[in-house]
């Protein structure tokens, strides 16, 4: 990698990747529409002469193509990640995830850029019948607009790669990512509630949903480790798909326990009930991560450590709550 283009560069994961690549001496162009990204996350990067930020939307193909010029690797991380409220704006997933990915691929094609990494999701397995779920699990039935749009993005990328338009395509199916600059998800919501009323916590579902999480710096390590190893170069398929997570999971109730212990609180818990937090929620997400671990990468933090890191960052950065209102 000489010059990297990152979509969603002002986001949680994107800005963390920007900082890491700059520290590694790489030139980076960040692209973000700032719909959910935070300019503050790029405060450090913007002081670096090897970084430039271009504000733009993935639906604007000419601008995207122009901004991408000269890059040799694209990390496509921009997405509508508002999973819970998909039904209030179903076109958003189509536009910001599916059509956006198509435009990223067309911009790459116009610029002759042959390498891409893409942030997909473990939700693509729907309600998996095989847990822990491997990359070649049975062809799933999709249960959410978000996952459907990510599958659509995956299939576009692989069809470009298998069609000879891209030399190396890396698709990472993420579990939920936690850590510094985290701006949505259950830790975000729970801490927000506990700031407002430390004695009371409302929990979507029955609290028994089992989920896996990964600390953001472990996630960045994995993205760079796999793409530097060029595992797609010699493989039968130029598209390589990796589950990205830890080899453990926790219940929502475990997570509440970690948070409350760290905060010294004992709130009364109110459950909305049912085994799902929202329409399309999946009561058990646990990915088989043997494939990515076989490349030599492994996470450094446990889920509990990641949750506490997240909480400490939110405590020190309560401005992120105001920025979302």
């Amino acid at each position: 990698m000489q010059k990297v283009f990152i979509t969603g560069a002002a986001g949680f994961i994107g800005s963390s990747l920007v900082d890491r690549l700059l520290a590694d001496g790489v030139a980076v162009t960040g692209w973000d529409n700032l719909a959910t990204g935070q300019l503050r996350f790029l405060d450090g990067a913007l002081k670096n002469l090897r970084f430039q930020l271009v504000r733009g939307d993935n639906l604007d193909l000419p601008a995207l193509t122009a901004a991408m010029k000269g890059a040799d690797f694209v990390f496509h991380l921009a997405a509508n990640a508002d999973i819970k409220d998909g039904w209030s704006h179903p076109r958003k997933d189509l536009e910001q995830n599916t059509i956006a990915t198509f435009n990223v691929l067309e911009a790459m094609r116009a610029n002759g850029i042959k390498h891409i990494a893409f942030s997909s999701t473990g939700s693509t397995y729907g309600e998996a019948t095989l847990i822990p779920t491997p990359e070649d699990a049975p062809f799933p039935v999709q249960t959410s607009l978000y996952a459907a749009s990510k599958v659509a993005g995956e299939t576009l990328i692989s069809s470009y790669a298998e069609g000879g338009q891209i030399d190396e395509a890396y698709i990472f199916r993420f579990v939920s990512i936690l850590g510094e600059r985290y701006t949505h998800g259950h830790v975000f919501d729970f801490y927000q509630q506990l700031i407002a009323h430390p004695d009371h916590l409302r929990v979507l579902g029955d609290g028994k949903q089992r989920k896996s999480y990964l600390y953001v710096q472990d996630c960045i390590d994995a993205l760079l480790h796999v793409t530097h190893a060029h595992t797609a170069r010699e493989a039968k398929h130029h598209t390589q798909i990796y589950n990205l997570g830890t080899a453990e999971y926790v219940q929502v109730n475990d997570s509440i326990g970690y948070l409350c212990a760290a905060l010294g609180l004992k709130p009364k818990l109110e459950y909305t009930g049912g085994d799902r937090g929202w329409i399309g929620d999946n009561p058990f997400i646990f990915l088989d991560t043997k494939k990515i671990q076989s490349t030599g990468w492994s996470p450094k933090l446990t889920i509990e450590q990641g949750i506490i890191k997240t909480l400490r960052w939110l405590e020190a950065n309560r401005w992120v709550y105001d920025s979302r209102r």
Copy 2:
């Protein structure tokens, strides 16, 4: 079914379904942009008072929503089926297959229509590792823009169904369909060549590609049999996926043999070489059809009979070649 809405109603399969439903006493609204559909296929239907044709494009959501009013079942068959030339217009698959399917679902949602059947493709299995390939084969890597866009359509439909927007969704993964009104595919191409020069036939690939085919009236039987059986009503998932094909396959060379014998020709065969006919072609497509056969449906014609029926129809309808120029 009281009133059925069919996208792609002037197409090969669409017009055959129109005629069958009208014969069954159902009211039908046909929708087609006439990009590849043939008005002549609807000559009979247009004489029936229970039929109306609305010319429109799936990208025009307001017109689609208006046309769909009053229907209680949608057969969504419209698609860009130009598989071979995907790389000359990659946006076409995105628009006419992915975005089109989104618009069909949004038009249904606006009209409160809760039942849909969708023509997907066996190509969604990519280069399947399991042959015959069952519906729950390993999560495949997509190898063509066409299949990618059909997977995207499938995932949209299932996310609407699993998200409670649709009561019954039937996704049929078709093998290649043959028979009366067939207007593209290898029999079409081969016969066209043999009209022009009966002594010479150019074959894409090495002729050893193994494919499965289904006769169009068997296909229509299957669509109606499964949707009338309401298999999605009581199932865990409101999305039911069925492979649709015969329990046999043939080589391209077998198919050439049937055609030449029927025509009394012995052309010199020229192979372009390689095990694929085009980028993204799959050298072996054979679907496991036990699931759909377990509903009580089975095909009446063999592949050979279907190929001969197709040839006889093309011989009697050489106008279709002119209509495509």
